[in-house]
């Protein structure tokens, strides 16, 4: 069936904002977090001021605030997506080698990334479709994938043509091996555990139906 058909058939599926809110609610008080470009950036909209969460941007800052608007815009203060942002009290700036040392050294609690595919063992593919002629660009994706204590993925479970993006083995070029611990999708949240994928919760779809869509043995 087509993705549009799939969409319509799961009335209770989460939209991007609801999914972002769910991820945000799973981030513990006091955590240090990096939010990848795109969908993961939405998570910041649902981190309450009292959440105690500190945001890292890999271009050299801890304590990043919300997107800048109007007079707040300062071209020397941007996030990894090159969007002007703001600075919160208690922020700090550092250079790129220090910033990636912080990431690679395992000092951040959680990194939230988008994905093309995630494998049952937590392999991540999110930087390159492998399309011939495409200009490859990796940015910080490979560093972010393997750096944080936990890497969460946010994505639609199905591609536009209805294929599961949670797969036995990634067919797209890899970003990192065995690095993803949780997959937040519009239809379900999956925990990637040493002995396989576990469905933590699902949205508008039953376990059996989910298992039919996903070519990976799931546990409840």
């Amino acid at each position: 069936m087509s993705q549009n058909a799939a969409d319509r058939s799961f009335e209770g599926r989460l939209d991007r904002n609801a999914l972002a809110a769910l991820v945000a609610s799973d981030i513990p008080h006091g955590a240090y977090v990096n939010l990848g470009i795109g969908q993961p950036t939405l998570v910041s909209n649902y981190l309450a001021p009292g959440s105690g969460v500190t945001l890292h941007t890999e271009n050299g800052m801890l304590g990043m605030g919300p997107e800048a608007h109007g007079d707040e815009v300062d071209l020397d203060l941007i996030n990894a997506g090159k969007i002007p942002v703001t600075e919160l009290p208690g922020a700090s700036y550092f250079h790129h080698a220090d910033s990636f040392a912080m990431m690679r050294g395992g000092h951040l609690d959680i990194c939230v990334l988008g994905a093309y595919q995630v494998s049952a063992t937590g392999d991540l593919a999110n930087w390159h479709t492998g399309t011939p002629g495409a200009i490859p660009a990796v940015g910080g994706a490979m560093d972010l994938a393997i750096g944080a204590r936990d890497t969460f993925v946010m994505m639609n479970l199905l591609t536009r043509d209805g294929q599961s993006k949670l797969v036995p083995e990634c067919t797209y070029p890899l970003t990192g091996l065995g690095c993803v611990s949780r997959v937040y999708t519009d239809l379900a949240v999956f925990l990637i555990e040493p002995d396989g994928a576990v469905v933590r919760e699902s949205f508008g779809i039953g376990f059996e139906q989910l298992q039919e869509l996903v070519p990976v043995l799931l546990r409840q």
Binding site: L75, I78, K82, Y93, H128, I135, M142, D143, G147
Partner: protein, 230 residues
């Protein structure tokens, strides 16, 4: 020993054809646009350029690439919505690309400045960007061996410099400047403010003057006034 150059053209005049040049900045932030534009004017070609990106729009690095002066670029994220100069050269087979994960790029540059011969990094292990590279398991984790990126010149942008060559940066425009300054034989910095010795608190210097060969003052234009701070 520091030279204060009168202008950007003078500062970059001796960069020869075929040089390897580190260029600071993450997208537009921290990009030493005036130094790069001087390089465009100087006519130098056949350059190997190291930058996080591959140029934005029409200015700076994009102009250098558009003018056909860059033989090879080493970067992490060439493809952007406004990287059309790079895209065209790449598709025409007129520029070589070495794609490096951003953290490995920063660390390889730091390594060059720090006199380290090579290092084992976990980033990229098991991916196409590690193909053909030496790998090793250490304490149960897998690593790829990466080598320093050294350069003839570094062109960077800082916020304030003093007469000893000490530099401070501004917000996320700091990015690659401090590590690039350490990894080139000749580091050329453009600054918005040039202050006398003692004008920068020794506790807050980010790039010590030993790393800087030439400074050129490029006053901040119509851009928003910076807040108080270094």
């Amino acid at each position: 020993m520091l030279t204060i150059s009168d202008n950007a053209m003078e500062a970059v005049a001796d960069i020869p054809d075929g040089a390897t040049v580190l260029i600071g900045g993450f997208g537009p932030a921290g990009q030493p646009v005036e130094l790069i534009e001087a390089l465009v004017q100087s006519g130098t070609s056949g350059l190997t350029v190291v930058n996080n990106n591959a140029g934005n729009g029409e200015v700076g690095l994009a102009a250098l690439i558009g003018a056909g002066r860059v033989r090879k670029i080493i970067c992490s994220f060439p493809r952007q919505h406004d990287s059309h100069h790079f895209d065209a050269k790449y598709r025409a087979g007129q520029i070589e690309l070495e794609l490096v994960p951003q953290g490995n790029l920063a660390e390889r540059i730091r390594t060059a400045g720090a006199g380290i011969g090579a290092f084992f990094t976990p980033t990229g292990y098991g991916t196409p960007l590690a193909e053909g590279k030496e790998v090793r398991e250490i304490d149960g984790r897998h690593y790829v061996l990466e080598y320093p990126i050294r350069a003839d010149y570094a062109l960077i942008k800082a916020y304030r410099g003093d007469e000893a060559g000490n530099l401070v940066y501004r917000k996320t425009a700091r990015n690659f400047g401090p590590v690039m300054a350490t990894a080139a034989r000749t580091t050329i910095a453009q600054v918005h403010e040039l202050v006398p010795l003692g004008g920068i608190d020794p506790e807050v210097v980010v790039t010590p003057g030993v790393y800087v060969s030439r400074l050129v003052l490029v006053p901040r234009e119509a851009a928003p006034e910076p807040e108080e701070g270094q």
